[in-house]
Structures are given as C-alpha cells and as structure tokens.
C-alpha cells in the first residue's frame, strides 16, 4: 500500500454543514478532499475546504425520485477517484462514475438482492471488485466490467449487516450477521465459508479490519460491546472487549494509532467515542456535537489520526478535530476520599499520583521543585492505557485526637439523670477528666458551682439553705465543696499527696496547698499558663480561706471572693476565647487587664442577690460554642442535666436541632440505649415522640405459629404459654430473644449460653438457628 503524506495534522478545524436530509452513510475519496453523503433522501458530494464544507455535486438527479437513490450505504473507491458505489434500500447495488459527462452519473445497476442492501465494499487493491451484503442473507461479488455478479455467497443465516475485505489477505473478506455470527470467506470459494464464530449475542452491526494488516478484526454489536479478534490463529481469539453504553453501529480503527478505534451508536447515544482497547472502560475521547444519532463515521485521511468526519440523523455533516474532542478521563475523578465514623479515612487514588511525579499534571501555580525541562512530555496514549487505583485506609492510632472513642465512652458513662444535680455534674466532670478532656471537665464543675447556688430558685435537694441565712457560711460551703471537687481531681493526678490534701481541704484548714499544678490545670483547662502566677493566686486564695472566720460584714466576704478567680473565670473567659484546645497552647495568655476584669466579675458572682439567671447567657453561649465546635454531645448533656435551669434560655428549635443531631450521632455509633435515654429525657415534643412511633409488635405463638390476638401469655388457640424459654422452660419476662427462622427462643443469657455449645435450636426442632 502506498504511503501518503499526511495532509492536515494541524490545519483544519471542527466544522459542520447542514444537509437537507438525514444522512445514512458517508465516505471520503482517496485524497481526502471530498466526502460523499448518502441517505434516504440525500446523495451529495461536498468538498472539504479549509474552514467549511462546500457542496460540489448533487447526485440525486432526475424528475421522478427513484428508490435507487435511497442509500443505506455508500463507498468511495480508494483507487479510482471517480468511482462510487451505493447500497440502495430497494435491494439495488449502484455504481456511479463521476467522470460521466451528463448529469446522471449512474453507471451500473445490479438488482440481484431481494431485500435492502446493508453494505457495499470495494476491494482495497482490486479496482473492479465490489462486494455487497444484504438483508436477504446473501453476499455478492461483482466485477464492474460485467453486468452481473460473479459469485454469490450464502451465509446460511439471517441478514448480513457488514462485509469488509481483509487488508491482509487478498482473497479474504469478513461478513457479520444479525444472529451474532461472523464469517470469513475466501472470495474464490463461494460454496462455503472458511471460518465462522459467534462474536456477539444479538446482531453484529459492523466489523472493521485493522489497517496495519495484523489480522485483527473489530466487531460491534447490539450487545453494546466492541470486540477485537485475532484472526491469525486457528481459532478466532477475542483479545479485547470494550463495553460501551449503547449498541454499536459503526466501528472504525483510528489511523496511525494501533490501539484506538472509533465507535458510534444508532440508538439513544449521539456521541462518537474513541476507545483505547487496552482500557476498555472509559473512552479515550468523545465527540459530542451531534444532536441525533450518528449514522456514519470515517477518518478523513487514512494516515491522519486527528480528523474524523461524521454524518448524522440530525442532518448535519461534521468534521471533528481531535484537539477539540472532550476527554472523559480528564473529568473523571481519579480520587475517592471518605471520612469514616471512627475518624478513619478511606482514600483511593490513581497509582501514578501516589507513587511518583510521572503522571502529574502541571499546575499553573507551579510546583517549583523541579525545573520545567525535567519533564519529558509523556506519550498521552501510553499514559492513558496504564492506569490503576490504590486503595488505602488511614486509621488513627488509639491516642489520636481524631478518633471518636471519646464520644462513645463519654456517651456511655455520662449520667444525665437519676441523681442530684451536683452529683451528676461531678460524675460527668470526672468522666471528662478521665477521658483527658479538661475543658469539658472544667465546664461541668463550673456548672455545678454556678447552679448549686442556694439562691437558685430551683435548688437541688441537698442544698436547701435559706437564702437570707448566713451568707458567709454559704460561701464557705461553696468553697469547701469546690475544694473537694479539686481534691477529687487531684486524687487522680497526684496520688502521692492525696491524703494530705484531702484532710486539708475537708477541714477547711489550708495552711499549705500542694498540687497546685493540678489546680492550675483545672483552672484553665490546660496546663498551659504560667504556673507561677496561678500558684501564687491559688496560694493566696487558700491562705485567705484559712483565716476565714465567718465575719458579718460584707467587705471581708468580697475580699475573699476577689481572691478566688477559679469559680467565675472559665465561664467568663469562654465567650472571649472560643476554643482552648490542648493543641493551641500559644494562644492563651492572661494579661493583667483580663485578670482585672475577671476579678471584677467574680465580685459580682457571689453577691447574695445573684440568681442563676445571671449565668444563663454565659451558659447559653457556652452551649452554642460547644455545638459549634462539633461537640453537640456536651450541649445536649448539659441541657438535660441543667433541665429547667437553662431550658427557657435556649429557643426550642435550637434545642431540637441539638437533640436530633446528638441522637443521630448516637445511632451512628449504635449506642441505642443512650439514644433512647436522651429521647426519654428530652423535653422537646418533637423528640419525645420519636420513641413513641411504631411501638406495636405483632407476635406469633411459638407453638402453633398463629398470630397472638389477645394480650397475655397464653395463646388462645393452642392454650399454651407462648413465650417459654426453650432452655429453662420458664416463662420469659423481660428480654426475650428468638430465632426468626423457627421462632424458638428464650432468655437472652440462656440462649447465648446454649449457642456456645450448639448451633441447633434449643427447642429440639432441628433448625440451625440464626440470631442477628
């Protein structure tokens, strides 16, 4: 085959022209300067100019329209530039000679087929040989010098959809059939096919030999697949299979690109795809210009891989430039990323991204680590074909802060009800402390101090002191209580001086306080302050307290509280510094100004007329803050524990939102019991109704398998007790677990015990029980 120069690698552009009617097929002449468009109502030749199509010739001439012009297929001879052949829907095979001087260029008319001719094909090297395949199941070979066919090939099966002369063997052609078969014929032996194999399920609409005569045949079928067959071996071997999204109507190998082929569909899908057969899942390129199904595709020049022509049912003729093609793979996300519930991170990425710089796209902002000349421009097609993703899961180590263990443990261990307010706070503070969440712990303690005030209109039971009674005593009480709270914390931190402290604090005789480290930590959430400062403050405070002797005047009282920054400070501090988390040590410094304001606040705090409503805005802000920081657990827990003390401060919708979010989180972690408790304790009507829905349970009697209609233990049909433990044969009250297969069961513990030893049903029914 003669090698031709490539005319238009760079020149040309994507362009189109309107046809008068839908096209069925197109074909280009040898030198790629003209294209013929054929259809039911159109048969024209267009010249391919630099930036437009120009109509050259209308071959549809004559007064009365002949069905001979109604073309299903057209082919321009690749050796003889004036010769065309068309396959007519009435069964005629027509050849046209453009060199004829008159307007009607029709040369030969072969009317041997009985039904529509689907395909005509000139021999690639033999000038006068034409092959046709028809709906009637026959293929005919014509010698254009004779008036009739020279040989007829019977496929012995249904319609012929495509015939293609082989590029490799002079005598061989392939034919594809509606029943899914592909046959190989020797042109000299019309009696019998050389070889036949089933290529697709359903019709094989098209086939195409690889242009680089390698004996490869691509076939496309209604089963949406393109298969590449190696015909050089004894048996046709499927070497590649491309799955497209619609039935394949046309397939054409791309010139000069060994692995590429173009396809289009005649159903549903209007696009033209170019595939790399080595990567059969995602198109290498797509042309999306057509508005209706594409009926004909042809590469403009047999050595130019960049220009594709197509005709469509939407009555347009397009020239597609490869540089304008869309590349689906560029839009395909090469990475997947998902945060798991427990803080683990699943990450999938293209391997080339993970391992090296090779597959990396340059980014405008520039990765300046490598000079630009280090990049050898990689072959885009090679790069395209070799691709895989690596999947990995990043699991946080057990001490990692992103792990959600704290949430589960906290949820399980928090007490939300059932004890006096102060104890709940203490308990929860302790839980938080043990889980290494000092800020939360501090908050709990502060809450207790703020709201345990006897001045509280709704005081907890163990704080029933008269409001107007001995105020100093109240203060000393508070201090004492707080000291013991501190003491508790110290207990965990500083086992060594535990006893010492305990006695000290309990006796209100604080001559000397050790463990001020612990207290400092308590004060500010993290041991991040200048310890000396705190120490001195704390020390002073304790010393004052030791001297304290129930004075009656207001002044000493105030004085004392001035020295007691611990109580008011964190809540006053919080709104100003939204987050004091362990990792942000540098962020926090106590200026004299701040400490001054703190002290002045603290003066207010313990004034006798102080009511909890004073704290409410602070607490509300605090809850908002926690919710905002993603710790809705804290917000809800505080909300429940404080109950009426704070509820009115926060609007109903916000509360509901918090509850819903927290319940959702609990359910994600499968903390059903906690979730139910929260629902039960909530006061929002929208929440409490959550566990009032679908509470009906329909049960069948385990003996007679009939629905239990009445209430009670006895089935009214078989008059036996329905819920008897199959292990201990006693009536089960409380948790009853049963196998949904055989409906036998019993006490949870008994059944669990039983299942350790046997998989069979304890009732002896022989069922292999499955409990979920």
């Amino acid at each position: 085959m003669e090698k031709m120069s490539c005319p238009s690698t760079v020149s040309g552009r994507t362009m189109f022209c309107h046809l008068d009617a839908p096209a069925n097929a197109i074909s280009v002449c040898r030198d790629a300067t003209q294209v013929v468009v054929a259809g039911r109502n159109i048969f024209k030749i267009y010249a391919l100019e630099e930036d437009s199509f120009v109509e050259r010739l209308n071959l549809r001439v004559g007064r009365k329209p002949s069905l001979n012009f109604s073309c299903a297929d057209v082919m321009w001879h690749q050796m003889e530039e004036n010769l065309l052949a068309t396959a007519a829907t009435n069964g005629a095979v027509v050849t046209w000679n453009l060199a004829r001087p008159c307007r009607n260029k029709q040369e030969h008319l072969f009317t041997e087929h009985k039904r529509t001719v689907n395909k005509v094909c000139f021999h690639p090297t033999e000038v006068h040989m034409l092959l046709s395949g028809s709906q009637d199941g026959f293929m005919k070979c014509f010698d254009l010098r004779k008036k009739e066919s020279v040989s007829t090939f019977s496929g012995q099966s249904e319609s012929v959809r495509d015939v293609q002369f082989s590029m490799k063997d002079y005598f061989t052609f392939a034919a594809s059939f509606e029943n899914g078969n592909v046959q190989l014929w020797d042109i000299r032996r019309p009696d019998r096919y050389e070889r036949m194999f089933t290529a697709h399920t359903g019709p094989v609409f098209c086939c195409d030999w690889h242009p680089e005569d390698r004996g490869w045949l691509a076939t496309g079928g209604r089963d949406k697949m393109v298969k590449v067959w190696d015909m050089t071996t004894n048996r046709a071997k499927e070497i590649y299979c491309v799955q497209t999204i619609a039935s394949v109507a046309r397939v054409k190998w791309r010139p000069e690109r060994r692995w590429h082929l173009a396809t289009c569909s005649m159903m549903v899908d209007h696009n033209i795809y170019v595939w790399d057969v080595r990567r059969p899942f995602i198109p290498f390129a797509t042309f999306e210009e057509h508005k209706d199904v594409t009926t004909g595709i042809v590469w403009r020049h047999q050595h130019d891989p960049y220009v594709l022509l197509s005709g469509s049912k939407d009555s347009t003729l397009y020239q597609h430039m490869f540089k304008d093609a869309s590349r689906p793979v560029d839009r395909a996300n090469p990475e997947g990323l998902c945060f798991g519930l427990f803080g683990d991170l699943a990450f999938a990425a293209k391997e080339s991204l993970m391992t090296g710089e090779a597959g990396r796209k340059p980014y405008p902002a520039g990765d300046r680590r490598y000079p630009i000349f280090f990049f050898k421009k990689p072959d885009v097609t090679e790069q395209f074909a070799q691709v895989a993703s690596a999947l990995s899961v990043f699991e946080s180590e057990s001490d990692g802060s992103s792990r959600m263990d704290w949430f589960i443990k906290t949820a399980r261990r928090y007490l939300l009800s059932g004890k006096p307010f102060a104890e709940l706070c203490d308990h929860n503070a302790k839980v938080a402390k043990e889980l290494n969440r000092p800020q939360v712990s501090t908050t709990w303690t502060m809450l207790r101090i703020m709201f345990s005030d006897p001045g509280n209109p709704a005081p907890p039971a163990n704080h029933n002191m008269s409001k107007l009674g001995n105020i100093p005593l109240m203060n000393s009480f508070n201090l004492k209580e707080m000291s013991s709270a501190l003491n508790e914390r110290n207990k965990e931190n500083r086992q060594d001086n535990l006893h010492n402290l305990e006695t000290n604090l309990n006796n209100d005789e604080n001559e000397e306080t050790e463990g001020s480290d612990g207290q400092a930590e308590y004060l500010f959430g993290d041991a991040e302050l200048d310890d000396d400062d705190l120490y001195s403050m704390e020390h002073e405070n304790q010393a004052e307290e030791a001297e304290f002797s129930l004075p009656q005047e207001a002044f000493p009282l105030r004085h004392e509280i001035v020295d007691h920054p611990a109580a008011p400070e964190p809540p006053a501090e919080k709104p100003e510094s939204p987050q004091v988390s362990g990792s942000e040590a540098e962020s926090f410094c106590l200026t004299p100004m701040e400490s001054f304001s703190l002290i002045s606040v603290s003066q207010l705090l313990y004034q006798p007329q102080l009511t909890p409503s004073f704290f409410s805005p602070v607490v509300r802000e605090m809850l908002d803050h926690y919710a905002e920081q993603g710790d809705v657990q804290m917000a809800v827990s505080v909300l429940i524990v404080l109950g009426d003390r704070i509820r009115k401060e926060i609007d109903e919708l916000t509360q509901e939102h918090w509850y819903m979010s927290y319940i959702d989180l609990l359910q994600r972690f499968e903390l059903w019991n906690v979730s139910n408790e929260v629902i039960k304790l909530s006061t929002c009507s929208a929440i409490t109704c959550l566990n009032q829905a679908s509470t009906t349970l329909h049960i069948n009697c385990s003996n007679c398998k009939r629905p239990m209609s009445n209430k009670g233990w006895i089935c009214d049909r078989c008059h036996q007790c329905a819920s008897v433990c199959a292990v201990c044969h006693h009536v089960v009250k409380g948790l009853f677990v049963w196998c949904q297969g055989c409906s036998h069961g019993g006490h949870l513990e008994h059944v669990m015990e039983w299942l350790k030893s046997s998989n069979h049903c304890p009732a002896g029914c022989g069922h292999l029980c499955e409990y979920t």
Binding site: P334, E335, G336, L341, F347, A348, L391, V393, S396, D664
Partner: protein, 313 residues
C-alpha cells in the same frame, strides 16, 4: 497520628469514589471498570471484600449508602446515563458460605440523557429520597413513596442548573429551622460563568425547590478559608463526623487534613500518603485565610464542602 493500611482493591481501572456506611463498618468503592465492591471490616480491623459485581455499562462515578433504616441499600451512578439502586439480600446461604453477599438491582433511573455524575440519599427524616445530578446540568430528585418497595421511584423534581454538574450534597441538618437544601457544584471550566456552586432550598409552602446562587444573594455564602497547599487540582473533600476536621485530596496524591483552631483559623494538621512515606513539605503551613463569622455550622460546612468538591470552582 494515622496508620496507613493498604487494601488490594483489585479494580481494573480508576477508583472514583469511596464511601463509608452510616455506622462506619462497611465501605463501598466504585470504579471505571463498571463494578462496585463492598468491603466489610472484620473484628481484627481488616477490610474484606464481600461483594463485587458489575453495576453499569460505563464508568461508575459515585456510590453512596442509604440510611440503614431502609436496609442495606446502595445507589450508584454512571457514565452510562443511569443511576441504580441496589439492595443486599440476606439469607442466600450459598453465597454466605463463600463470604460473598448478594446485591440485586432494585431500580434503574434512566431519566438523564447524559452522564450521571453524582447521587446522594437525602437525610433520613425526609424519607427515602435520592438526588442525582448529570453532566447536562439537571438535578433530579426521586422519591420512593413506599420505603419497603425500593423498585418504585417517582421523579419528584427536575431542576435545571444550566451548568454541567459534578457533585451534589444534601444539607445534613434535620432541624426544622433549616429547610432541606442541596448544594450543587459544577465542573464547568468556563471561567466566565458565575455560580459554580448553587444551593437549592426546598420550600414546603411553594412545593418546589427555589434556587440560591453562590453569589451573596439570599443565602449568605462566606469564604471560611482557602487552602492552596495541594499545588494542584483538588479532587475530593470530606468532613469527619463532627465537622471539626476536613480532609482534602489533590492531584499530588496526598491527603491533607485541616482543622480550625480557636480563632477559626484553618490549618493543615497532617499530610497523608497511601504508602505511608513522609511527604515533602509537610511543614508547609496551610495558607488559610482568616475566616469571619460563623453561620449555622452544618449548613455552612456542607456548602464549603460542595464548593471545594466542585473542583473548578
């Protein structure tokens, strides 16, 4: 802080999405090889593939789990212009023996005329509702009126976004204070168009979705932070469960973790790589812009998430 555990995914082409289920014990991956795989975490922390099946006749872009209240249900969407809903069938003891579970297709949603680029189930309180978006810029919202019947889905809404959509995200909040919202991100690479992120709000009164564009119109969208240290395209972002940690993955093959400090300054707190190797420039500070204001936390988050997920934004 993190341990990398590599999994032999054995997908034959790119993996486009990874998705954890509601309880974090199952994982689904989807790939261009047209298959979806389901992974279950065993007690020893290993991930095992328990199902792998061909789902579509094109690249599968996204896979997502429904709330377990509706059963073990997955939805996938594909280049083949369809979205599909899958349900796991229990009790096929034959498959169980081989450690494989059985997933069957409950429905195929064929309304799109172009590639379906994302699919997401709505928050549970809305019922069984599924949103898809497609490359031709149409967001479709389907509902299964009977949650027991996964094979019947009716198309409730069709919203035309005008721009090619690449991702959608539901507002996760179940509060009555916020109406249901969908954020839509576009991968349209035409710089002249605005509104690459759009938010649609479902209005119960008018019974239709009203639009809010990403401009400062009805819904105030603020830039909370901007990160640039990937030095490449950012493909995916994901929030942790409490919305305190943001992970982003870029074309440099790394995952970066972002966390806000007490001042709402977002900083890079970690760089992860699949093979566990140290990453050049881990010391690089995240160029986080100071953020202002703080809207309703969760809605803001979903918006920011969608914004970054629409990668050309």
């Amino acid at each position: 802080m993190f341990v990398a555990r590599s999994i032999a995914a054995d997908h034959k082409d790119l993996i486009h999405d990874v998705s954890y289920d509601f309880h974090g014990r199952r994982m689904a991956t989807c790939s261009s090889d047209q298959s979806v795989k389901v992974w279950d975490k065993s007690d020893d922390g290993e991930w095992h593939c328990t199902a792998s099946w061909k789902t579509h006749s094109g690249s599968v872009w996204r896979v997502t789990w429904a709330h377990p209240e509706f059963g073990q249900v997955l939805a996938s969407c594909s280049f083949d212009r369809t979205a599909a809903v899958w349900e796991e069938i229990v009790g096929e003891s034959n498959d169980k023996q081989r450690g494989l579970s059985h997933w069957i297709k409950r429905t195929t949603l064929v309304d799109s005329r172009t590639s379906v680029t994302d699919v997401k189930f709505a928050p549970k309180h809305m019922g069984l509702v599924l949103a898809t978006c497609s490359a031709d810029g149409v967001v479709r919202i389907y509902e299964a009126p009977d949650v027991m019947n996964l094979s019947q889905w009716s198309l409730q809404h069709e919203i035309s976004c005008k721009l090619s959509c690449s991702c959608i995200s539901w507002n996760p909040s179940s509060s009555r204070a916020h109406p249901p919202m969908i954020a839509v991100g576009s991968d349209d690479n035409n710089v002249t168009y605005s509104g690459k992120v759009q938010i649609y709000e479902y209005n119960e009164n008018t019974r239709r979705e009203s639009t809010t564009s990403s401009g400062p119109t009805k819904f105030e969208v603020q830039v909370m932070a901007q990160f640039d240290s990937h030095n490449s395209q950012v493909w995916r972002v994901s929030w942790n469960i409490t919305s305190t940690l943001l992970a982003s993955s870029g074309d440099d093959g790394c995952v970066r973790l972002w966390k806000a400090n007490y001042m709402d300054n977002w900083k890079c707190t970690g760089i992860l790589r699949g093979d566990g190797s140290p990453v050049n420039g881990s010391s690089v500070q995240g160029a986080a812009l100071g953020a202002v204001g703080s809207g309703g936390a969760q809605t803001q988050n979903s918006v920011v998430g969608a914004a970054s997920a629409g990668r050309y934004v």
